[in-house]
C-alpha cells in the first residue's frame, strides 16, 4: 500500500531491511529492493549463523520464494522480515545427511499410515497405535519392554527409513508364531514396571491387554496397513460421536490424561530419562545431549547464554570413518582380516528377518557386551525360552531356506535344537558370552592365518584350523557341564544324492570334476560358497 514515489525513490538504492529471527534476535541489512530473495538470503547469511539454503523468510504472512524480487512482495525501507531456520535440503548424493540443523524434530507420520487426524483429542486408542513401542506406525519405538535394549535409537533407524521392513518382519514365520501366541506379547508388556503401575491404576486397561483378540488385532494391524487405516477410521468416528454427546469431550479429556498420556509415556520413555520432550505415537522427542559429549562443539559455541543455536553437525552414528567430527566408535568389527567373500548367511538364520546386522550397528556380529545386555533383559530371555521350547517354531525356523544355508541334514539339527540340555545352555547369557569369545578367537586366528598365507592360496581355513575350532568348542561345552550333546551321525545317504542340488550348481559354475566337488562339499557340509573357495584354493596349489 506504499506510495509510488517511495518505490521510485528507492529504485537501485540500498534500503534498510530489518530481519527478525524466531529467537528474538534482530538485525538490519542494506539491500536494493530489486534484488532477488536468494541474494537477500546470502546477505542475511553473513549476519547470522543460518546458511542461505536453510533460511525461510516471511514477510506480511507470506513465505518469500527465491526467484522473486523483494519489490514483488512490496518490501520497502524499514520493513521487517521474519527469519526461520528451515529443514536442510535433501542430500543429493543419497548419503546420510549428518547435519543436525533441522529444527523440525517430529517424525511426521504420513496421513494414510498412522497420523490420527480425526477426533478432538487425536491419537486415542488405535489412532496413535495401541503399542507405539512396537513400531506400529512404521517407526519402532523404544521402551515398551522396559530397559535393557542397547542403542535402541540406532536399532530403530532402519524402521524409520524403510516402513516396509516392519511389514517384512511381521510376515516372517517367527512373528506369525508370535501373533498366534498373544501370551508372549502380554508377558513382554507386563515386564515393563511402568505398564504394571498403569494397569494397577486402570483395571479396564488390564482387561484390554489381557484380551487375546485385541492383541492379535493390534499385531495384525502392524502387518496390514489397510486394517490399520480401517481401525483409525473407526476410532475417529467413535471419538467424534462421543465428543458430540454431552460431557463427551470431558470424558475424552479424562481418558487422555488418565490413560493415554501415562500409557504413551510408559511405552515411549521407559529407560530413557534423557528425553525431555514426551513423544506421542512413535514420535520421539530429541534426547537432551550434553554439550560436552558432542565432539564437534567448539569452545566458542559452548559459551553459556548464547542466543544462537549450535549448528555443528552431530557425529554420524552409522559411519565407520569419522565424517561428523571426531568419533569414538565403540564397536570392534570381529571379522577383520577374514576373506571378504566369506559372508555369513543373511538375515537371522533364515528367519526372513532382513539385514539384522545393520540393526546391530553394521558389524557382522554385535558387541559381546551389547548382546549380554540384551540377553539379561528378562523379556528377551523369556521370549527366547518360549520360542525355543515350541517345536512348531523350531520346525519353521529350521525349515526356512535350508538349501541355501548349507544345512542338508535337517533331522540331526532338529534333534539338537530340541535337546532340552542344549536349549537350557543356548538361552543362558553365560553360554552366549563364551560363544562370542570363542568366535572372536576363531576369527582372529583365521585373520592371522590369512595374512601369513601365500598370495596364490585363497582357500578358507583347512585341517588344523578346523580342529582347533572343534577342540575349543568341545572344551567350552564340556566346561559348562553339557556332557555329550546327543548329535546323531550323518545319514547314510550317498553324497551324490545328498548334495545333488549343490553338485549341479558347481557344475553350472564350471567345476566339472565330480569327485573333487563331492570331496569339497563333504568337507564344507554342503556349503556351496565354501566349496567353491576350497576348490579354487586346491587349483591354486
Amino acid at each position: 500500500m506504499g506510495g509510488d514515489s517511495a518505490i521510485e525513490e528507492s529504485e537501485g538504492v540500498n534500503v534498510n531491511i530489518n530481519v527478525r529471527c524466531s529467537n528474538g534476535f534482530k538485525f538490519s541489512v542494506q539491500i536494493a529492493v530489486d534484488s532477488t530473495v536468494s541474494s537477500f538470503k546470502d546477505v542475511v547469511a553473513r549476519n547470522c549463523d543460518i546458511p542461505a539454503e536453510q533460511q525461510r523468510l516471511i514477510y506480511k504472512g507470506r513465505i518469500l520464494k527465491d526467484d522473486q524480487t523483494l519489490r514483488s512482495y512490496g518490501l520497502e525501507a524499514d520493513h521487517t522480515v521474519h527469519l526461520v531456520r528451515g529443514s536442510a535440503p535433501a542430500n543429493p548424493t543419497g548419503g546420510t545427511n549428518t547435519s543436525s540443523t533441522n529444527t523440525n524434530t517430529t517424525t511426521n507420520n504420513a496421513r494414510g499410515a498412522g497420523a490420527n487426524e480425526g477426533g478432538g483429542l487425536g491419537g486415542l486408542g488405535f489412532g496413535a497405535s495401541l503399542f507405539p513401542g512396537l513400531g506400529v506406525n512404521g517407526t519402532g519405538g523404544n521402551g515398551l519392554f522396559g530397559e535393557g535394549f542397547p542403542d535402541l535409537e540406532q536399532m530403530q533407524q532402519p524402521f524409520i527409513s524403510n516402513p516396509n521392513l516392519v511389514r517384512e518382519i511381521m510376515n516372517s514365520p517367527t512373528m506369525q508364531n508370535l501373533m498366534n501366541n498373544p501370551e508372549i506379547v502380554r508377558n513382554l508388556i507386563m515386564n515393563n514396571p511402568q505398564m504394571q503401575e498403569l494397569m494397577d491404576r486402570n483395571p479396564e486397561l488390564a482387561h484390554i491387554l489381557n484380551d487375546p483378540s485385541t492383541l492379535r488385532q493390534t499385531l495384525e494391524a502392524t502387518r496390514n496397513p489397510e486394517i490399520m487405516r480401517e481401525m483409525m477410521r473407526n476410532t475417529d468416528r467413535a471419538m467424534s460421536n462421543i465428543e458430540s454427546s454431552p460431557e463427551g469431550f470431558n470424558m475424552l479429556r479424562r481418558m487422555y490424561e488418565n490413560i493415554q498420556e501415562p500409557f504413551l509415556n510408559a511405552t515411549t520413555m521407559a529407560g530413557n530419562t534423557g528425553n525431555n520432550n514426551a513423544a506421542v505415537s512413535g514420535t520421539h522427542g530429541g534426547h537432551a545431549r550434553d554439550r560436552s559429549t558432542n565432539p564437534s562443539t567448539t569452545s566458542s559455541e559452548a559459551t553459556a547464554g548464547s542466543p544462537l543455536p549450535n549448528t555443528n553437525p552431530l557425529p554420524n552414528p552409522w559411519s565407520s570413518t569419522g565424517t561428523g567430527g571426531a568419533q569414538n566408535n565403540p564397536r570392534r568389527s570381529l571379522t577383520t582380516g577374514v576373506d571378504a567373500r566369506q559372508q555369513g548367511p543373511t538375515g537371522l538364520g533364515g528367519l526372513g528377518l532382513p539385514d539384522l546386522e545393520s540393526m546391530m550397528g553394521g558389524s557382522a556380529m554385535p558387541d559381546a557386551a551389547l548382546l549380554t545386555q540384551l540377553m539379561q533383559n528378562p523379556a528377551i530371555s523369556q521370549m527366547m525360552q518360549s520360542m525355543l521350547s515350541n517345536p512348531q517354531t523350531l520346525n519353521q525356523i529350521l525349515g526356512a531356506n535350508t538349501e541355501q544355508r548349507g544345512m542338508p541334514d535337517l533331522n540331526s539339527l532338529r534333534e539338537v535344537m530340541q535337546n532340552p540340555e542344549f536349549l537350557r545352555l543356548f538361552s543362558s547369557p553365560e553360554t552366549l558370552q563364551q560363544l562370542l569369545s570363542f568366535q572372536q578367537a576363531l576369527m582372529s586366528q583365521l585373520g592371522q592365518q590369512q595374512s601369513t598365507r601365500e598370495s596364490g592360496q585363497t582357500g578358507g581355513g583347512t585341517g588344523p584350523m578346523n580342529n582347533l575350532g572343534l577342540e575349543m568348542l568341545s572344551s567350552m561345552f564340556g566346561g559348562l557341564g553339557a556332557g555329550s550333546l546327543a548329535v546323531p551321525n550323518r545319514s547314510n545317504e550317498p553324497p551324490e544324492q545328498l548334495y545333488a542340488s549343490q553338485l549341479s550348481q558347481l557344475q553350472e559354475m564350471g567345476f566339472f570334476d565330480t569327485q573333487e566337488n563331492i570331496r569339497a562339499l563333504i568337507a564344507t557340509s554342503g556349503n556351496v560358497h565354501a566349496a567353491v573357495e576350497r576348490l579354487l584354493g586346491n587349483s591354486g596349489q
Binding site: 530489518n18 506480511k60 504472512g61 526461520v84 531456520r85 529444527t103 504420513a110 497420523a115 487425536g122 491419537g123
Partner: protein, 146 residues
C-alpha cells in the same frame, strides 16, 4: 479502539483500524513469531489477509510454519474475522476437513471484543498450539494443505 474524553468516545473507522494493522504487519511491531499482511494491495476494502504462525518450541509444531487466511468482512472489527488454516494442522479448535478455526472452540473468537486485532488472533492460536491438549498431537506431514 475508542478515543475520547469526559465520557464521549470516538469509534475508529474500519479502514483506519485496518491501515494501522497493516502498518504493524509491515514493520513487524509486536510478537516476532507471527506475521500477517494483505493479500491484495489493490483491494480498497482490505478484506483478505494472510497470516503465518511459527510453531512454538518444545511442541510437535516446532520449526514448522503454518499459513492462515483471515477474512475481515465489512462489519470488522465489530465482528471477528473468519480464520482458516491453509497449512494442514491437527488442533482441537480447527476443523479437520476444512481447516476453519471454529469460533465455539476458540475462546478469542467466541468472546470477541472490538479491541482485539488479527495479531491477537495469531498470537492466541500460537498459545493454543502450545497448550497441553495440543502440543503433543500427531501432525500431518509438513507442507500439506487443505
Amino acid at each position: 479502539m475508542t478515543l475520547g474524553s469526559s465520557g464521549s468516545s470516538v469509534v475508529v473507522p474500519r479502514n483506519f483500524r485496518l491501515l494501522e494493522e497493516l502498518e504493524k504487519g509491515e514493520k513487524g511491531i509486536g510478537d516476532g513469531t507471527v506475521s500477517y499482511g494483505m493479500d491484495d494491495g489493490d483491494d480498497i476494502y482490505m478484506r483478505s489477509w494472510t497470516g503465518t504462525i511459527i510453531g512454538p518450541y518444545n511442541t510437535v509444531h516446532e520449526g514448522r510454519i503454518y499459513q492462515l487466511k483471515l477474512f475481515c468482512d465489512k462489519d470488522y472489527p465489530e465482528k471477528p474475522p473468519s480464520v482458516r488454516f491453509h497449512s494442514r494442522i491437527n488442533m482441537t479448535c480447527v476443523n479437520h476437513e476444512t481447516g476453519v478455526v471454529e469460533s465455539k472452540k476458540f475462546g478469542l473468537l467466541a468472546n470477541w471484543q472490538r479491541r482485539f486485532t488479527m495479531e491477537d488472533i495469531l498470537t492466541q492460536l500460537k498459545k493454543e498450539m502450545a497448550a497441553s491438549h495440543n502440543r503433543k498431537l500427531v501432525q500431518p506431514p509438513e507442507g500439506t494443505h487443505y
